[in-house]
């Protein structure tokens, strides 16, 4: 599987995914996102421990940023997951974002499919540490956990658009932080102001390092999965994940063609609008 993910990362995973696609669709996929340093990896470790205690096989895909300058990357999410390294039923893969925006890497969706096809019951996707608008994870995961940091802004931050809108479960981590309770209250009061249609995001307070609140978090996840199954929304989420991947793949190919066209196209004395028109006109119709 390690090799298969590498194939996907170098754009050669197509045949394998085609062959295995029928075996996918069984795993529960959990997305974990939030700002850098909020404790995503530590929460991930806690969730892996919980899932293992229930006898589930767990795959983890953990994305960290690539350097826009050297294209290198330092992938450090494993550090918090060390206790699971030698567990045969846990497979952890670090991934560099390689220029992809949105908090995921190009091959993340493939890695999730592969883990699913290889029989992992739970696939946990940890995004790049995100700012306010990296919401790609919402398309890929069935359940999205948004982890928030106490002491990082007032109620207006909570009201803003972006990652706050994609949470199925809010996690206030670092419960021992003096501002933790204030953050919890602000999220709660903001949620009370809004109209909810169907699922109302849950709010769980954790202290991941000590393992506190992980059981409650897992229960919230299970309630969300049950909700998805009962209401038929699971099908919608699966379709979203499918669409996400189709778009990623198509865009990737299109981008290559575009880059070639831009490189080859003459652009002297032309304004950017005109240049863009010409390039689009020069592309083969599809």
């Amino acid at each position: 599987m390690a090799r298969a993910i590498s194939w996907s990362e170098s754009g050669r995973g197509g045949d394998l995914i085609r062959a295995l696609y029928a075996k996918t669709g069984r795993a529960m996929t959990l997305g974990l996102t939030g700002p850098p340093g909020v404790g995503k990896s530590t929460l991930a470790s806690g969730l892996v421990r919980k899932a293992r205690s229930l006898g589930k096989r767990v795959g983890v895909v953990s994305v960290d940023p690539s350097s826009p300058f050297s294209h290198g990357a330092l992938l450090g999410d494993r550090i918090r997951l060390a206790e699971h390294f030698t567990d045969e039923c846990v497979f952890i893969r670090s991934m560099a974002s390689r220029g992809h925006l949105g908090g995921l890497a190009g091959a993340t969706a493939d890695a999730v499919l592969l883990m699913d096809a290889f029989g992992f019951d739970v696939v946990l996707i940890e995004t790049v540490g995100v700012g306010q608008s990296e919401v790609a994870i919402a398309e890929l995961a069935h359940t999205v956990l948004v982890a928030l940091q106490p002491g990082s802004g007032d109620s207006i931050q909570v009201l803003k658009a972006g990652i706050m809108e994609i949470a199925d479960v809010f996690v206030v981590n670092k419960a021992d932080h003096p501002m933790a309770d204030q953050l919890r209250r602000e999220i709660r009061s903001t949620m009370e102001m809004l109209q909810w249609d169907g699922w109302v995001p849950e709010l769980v307070v954790t202290q991941a390092l000590a393992g506190t609140g992980i059981d409650e978090l897992w229960s919230a996840v299970e309630r969300h999965v049950a909700y998805l199954n009962e209401t038929g929304e699971m099908e919608m989420r699966r379709r979203d994940a499918f669409t996400h991947q189709v778009r990623q793949l198509a865009l990737g190919r299109l981008e290559q063609r575009l880059n070639r066209a831009i490189r080859d196209g003459a652009r002297d004395g032309v304004d950017p609008y005109e240049a863009a028109e010409r390039i689009l006109a020069s592309l083969p119709k599809f």
């Binding site: 390690a2 090799r3 993910i5 590498s6 990362e9 170098s10 754009g11 690539s66 350097s67 050297s70 294209h71 290198g72 990357a73 330092l74 992938l75 450090g76 494993r78 550090i79 918090r80 060390a82 390294f85 030698t86 497979f91 952890i92 893969r93 670090s94 560099a96 190009g106 990737g252 290559q256």
Partner: protein
């Protein structure tokens, strides 16, 4: 796409909390365009090799400053064999006397870098040797 960067695991093993060197190397490899997976401190040889296998790493760099190099390096070599991962380029660094370094190389550690080794030498070694492994496995 296409040109996938080399992937290198940088590891610290056993009771050895000094990771400044490991971080310097990790940073240098990153700046050379590689993807570096840092394991964190206090890893066992089994954890390190398991990590490299799951990450499909092209190389493992192990830093040891505790004096336990004659125990830990051979255990990693053993684990690599046991896991059928002998294609992964294993190299290391630390405060390692020349005689020990020679014995470790004889055991299959591909290179030992001691204090004062120029970063560029290490980067060049990794790029060339791990690049060969990559060319082999694709």
């Amino acid at each position: 796409m296409n040109e996938r960067p080399l992937r290198i695991v940088i590891a610290k093993a056993g009771l050895d909390g000094h990771d400044r060197g490991a971080k310097v190397i990790a940073r240098a490899l990153r700046d050379a365009g590689m993807e570096v997976i840092y394991t964190g401190l206090f890893q066992t040889p089994e954890q390190i090799v398991q990590t490299a296998v799951q990450e499909d790493a092209d190389g493992i760099g192990l830093s040891i400053l505790s004096g336990a190099h004659m125990t830990l390096f051979p255990l990693v070599v053993e684990q690599l064999q046991a896991q059928g991962a002998g294609d992964i380029v294993f190299f290391g660094g630390g405060t390692i006397p020349p005689d020990d370094a020679q014995r470790l190389r004889d055991l299959g550690v591909r290179a030992i870098f001691t204090p004062g080794a120029p970063l560029q030498d290490i980067v060049d070694f990794v790029r060339s040797e791990c690049g060969k492994r990559r060319a082999l496995v694709g």
